[in-house]
């Protein structure tokens, strides 16, 4: 079972993906200065009416193993310590400890 924070982030990701097209349409309306001001204001209100998780900034890459939100290596989707553990175990193909 994944960690609670990961579940929360999964939920946010699903919300972002499902509401993205409609949100982009409203964003287009608000950013278009050639449209009447009333339409743009209404589009802004609609944007504010979306849930908080609908914004792409609500999502945060987390460690798949521990759910840690900081120090996550994007390429491996692991936090730095889990990355080290797995790399030393040899579970990450192509990763080797280097010395110089």
């Amino acid at each position: 079972m994944p960690r609670a924070r990961i579940i929360r982030d999964m939920k946010a990701r699903a919300t972002v993906a499902s509401s993205e097209v409609v949100r982009q349409a409203f964003r287009y309306l608000t950013h278009n200065t050639t449209l009447p001001a009333k339409v743009r204001a209404q589009a802004q209100l609609q944007l504010n009416a979306f849930p908080r998780d609908a914004r792409p900034t609500a999502i945060h890459n987390r460690c798949l193993e521990t759910g840690r939100g900081r120090g996550v290596l994007r390429a491996f989707r692991l936090c730095r310590f889990q990355f080290r553990l797995k790399a030393l175990e040899g579970e990450l193909p192509g990763v080797r400890k280097s010395t110089w």
């Binding site: 699903a14 972002v16 278009n32």
Partner: protein, 103 residues
């Protein structure tokens, strides 16, 4: 025809030919938002899609199998045991908070 008007007509024509939008004053038309890539699929595929099957789902789908959720059974047994000893939930208006208010 002056040079400036020639240039504007030229720009208009080139926009018409190459399928661009003629926007000499640089007005913000919001087209850059329409040009953005949709990030939903990539965002949604960050976590591996591993669905854990719960025992409850199996029992709901196939009730004929009569599977017993051991932890649930233990929990219900504990609850009935507690109730016997008078440790069940208090009745409405008999809890700690409501008795505090009366004093």
């Amino acid at each position: 025809m002056s040079t400036a008007s020639k240039i504007t007509t030229l720009n208009k024509l080139s926009c018409a030919i190459f399928g661009n939008i003629y926007n000499p004053n640089g007005l913000r038309t919001g087209n850059k938002i329409l040009r953005e890539r949709l990030v939903g699929p990539t965002i949604n595929s960050y976590y591996p899609n591993v669905k854990q099957i719960k025992l409850r789902e199996i029992t709901r789908m196939v009730p004929e199998m009569n599977l017993i959720d051991q932890s649930e059974k233990v929990r219900l047994e504990d609850l009935s045991e507690k109730k016997k000893r008078g440790k069940g939930p208090p009745k409405k208006g008999q809890g700690r908070r409501s008795t505090l208010k009366k004093k």
